[in-house]
């Protein structure tokens, strides 16, 4: 299945170096290095922004419409795709109304924190085709740490809006994020037991070795196949981390208006909305990297980015499917599922994985 696409950790050329080579910037010492890194970061940032742009105003509506037997946006451009442009102009040119009792610095900072923390996580994700910004040895911990900053932004948004719905939404968001962060990280840790490394390129390389070889095709050792239990746990915890059904309690449109984003309008709303979609994609990117073999897939190695984007969108489609198909859990159920269910299961998974790996070896 993935014959001839064995990636080797260590010999991967990262995007900044590649750009330095291509443009000749690597001859200019530190300044050239900084500029090449900036260009690479700009490319990745805009790639993710473009994906979010397609997902937020267009794909989400189309998918929900398909589930509820409607047509949704179809007037502007082919299949309504130009709604992306129309919507961005519309939202950016809205008046920015700031509630009278808002705590100003925190109220203004919250959307920036939410949006930029999600974007920063993509720095260590290997997206294939050489699009990999940085590969530090602590990659996996880094991405969990950065994704966790978003809850700070949500609390800031909830508290500083001086609105009761926002307050409740912010509190729910933090209770939910702390309840599901532990299962998420502990399940991720069960993958680290197999790889013995936190480096993202190493994690991907380990998964690309064949698990069972049938001669004509081989089943790769993707951790979703090696340890499907961990994969399901991680998917579930990830739904809660990004606040999507059945765990969209912090926003809960039928209970607390829109949760922490109730008082946000204009560009601030865009930033929070953008941050949420970036988080869904970041969650998808983490799942793709540590469970689905990263950019691996049939065909030459150079189309790795296509496979990677397909995998991310697969996870995105799953969240949208859940949104249309699964009802929301109550906030008390949410906490009990997190602490009494997923937490216990994730520790059971970690210990069982450790024992099985120990006995096999």
């Amino acid at each position: 299945m993935i014959e001839g696409t064995l990636l080797q950790a260590g010999d991967t050329v990262l995007l900044p170096e590649r750009i330095g080579d291509l443009t000749g910037l690597d001859q200019f010492g530190l300044a050239g290095e900084l500029l090449a890194a900036f260009i690479a970061a700009f490319i990745i940032g805009n790639l993710m922004l473009a994906m979010t742009g397609v997902a937020g105003p267009w794909a989400k509506r189309k998918i929900t419409a398909a589930f509820t037997d409607r047509i949704a946006v179809n007037r502007l451009g082919p299949a309504g795709l130009l709604i992306i442009v129309a919507d961005s102009v519309r939202l950016l040119s809205k008046e920015n109304i700031i509630p009278e009792n808002a705590d100003r610095p925190a109220y203004d900072l919250a959307p920036i924190v939410v949006a930029s923390s999600a974007l920063l996580g993509f720095a260590v994700i290997p997206m294939g085709s050489g699009i990999h910004l940085a590969d530090p040895e602590v990659g996996l911990v880094f991405v969990f740490a950065v994704a966790g900053i978003a809850s700070l932004g949500l609390v800031m948004a909830g508290y500083s809006s001086a609105n009761k719905y926002s307050m409740l939404g912010g509190l729910r968001a933090v209770a939910q994020n702390v309840a599901y962060e532990i299962p998420l990280v502990v399940t991720g840790m069960s993958v680290v037991i197999f790889t013995g490394s936190l480096q993202m390129s190493e994690i991907v390389a380990v998964q690309n070795q064949p698990l069972v070889d049938f001669g004509l095709f081989a089943i790769p050792a993707w951790f979703a196949i090696v340890n499907p239990f961990a994969f399901v746990l991680f998917l579930l915890a990830n739904f809660a981390e990004v606040g999507r059904n059945p765990f969209d309690t912090p926003e809960a449109p039928t209970e607390i208006v829109a949760g922490y984003q109730t008082e946000y309008s204009s560009v601030y709303f865009v930033l929070i909305y953008l941050g949420e979609f970036l988080h869904i994609f970041l969650g998808g990117a983490i799942i793709a990297t540590i469970f689905l073999g990263g950019p691996a897939g049939p065909g030459p190695e150079s189309i790795g980015i296509v496979w990677f984007i397909i995998k991310i969108w697969g996870v995105f489609l799953l969240t949208q499917w859940m949104r249309s198909a699964v009802p929301r859990v109550r906030v008390d159920q949410l906490i009990e599922i997190g602490w009494k269910g997923l937490l216990v299961l994730s520790f059971a998974n970690l210990i069982l994985t450790a024992i099985i790996v120990g006995i096999i070896q």
């Binding site: 290095e33 690479a40 809205k94 008046e95 920063l120 209770a175 840790m189 930033l271 602490w339 970690l350």
Partner: protein, 137 residues
């Protein structure tokens, strides 16, 4: 090339994009101040009372629990990284590689079981549970 330069560059881009959008919006958007426009949203009613309301103590309880477990995950990550090497090394083997971690998690699980029993992770109680739990501290 240093990885952290590239990560820093993305952090910079991650700040520039929101600020760029805010600048564009600043140029595009109108400003029509009006007295009641900025009132706190409360489903269209006149807002009553402040926002700094009392909320459920349970939010505090789970935050405390999280603190303990979060530190635990930080301590477990190094173990997960060296686990295979420790298994392979002659002087350690399965018992020495796995045993201490099991003991560590077991101690934590005792604490968690206690928190579970005292209802730290249970938000809603049936009337019977409230009655039965009246003498619990």
């Amino acid at each position: 090339m240093n990885d952290w330069i590239a990560i820093g560059a993305l952090a910079l881009v991650g700040l520039l994009i929101p600020f760029g959008m805010m600048a564009v919006s600043y140029l595009l958007r109108p400003s029509v101040p009006e007295t009641s426009k900025r009132a706190t949203y409360e489903s269209g009613e006149v807002p009553t009372g402040g926002t700094r309301i009392r909320f459920n103590i349970q939010y505090y309880m789970v935050a405390l629990l999280f603190l303990v477990f979060d530190i635990e995950t930080v301590l477990l990550f190094p173990w997960a990284v060296v686990y295979q090497d420790a298994l392979a090394a002659e002087e350690y083997g399965l018992v020495h590689a796995l045993g201490p971690m099991l003991a560590f998690v077991f101690i934590l699980l005792i604490g968690f079981a206690w928190a579970w029993r005292t209802g730290a992770v249970q938000w809603a109680r049936t009337p019977e549970q409230v009655e039965a739990g009246a003498d619990r501290s």
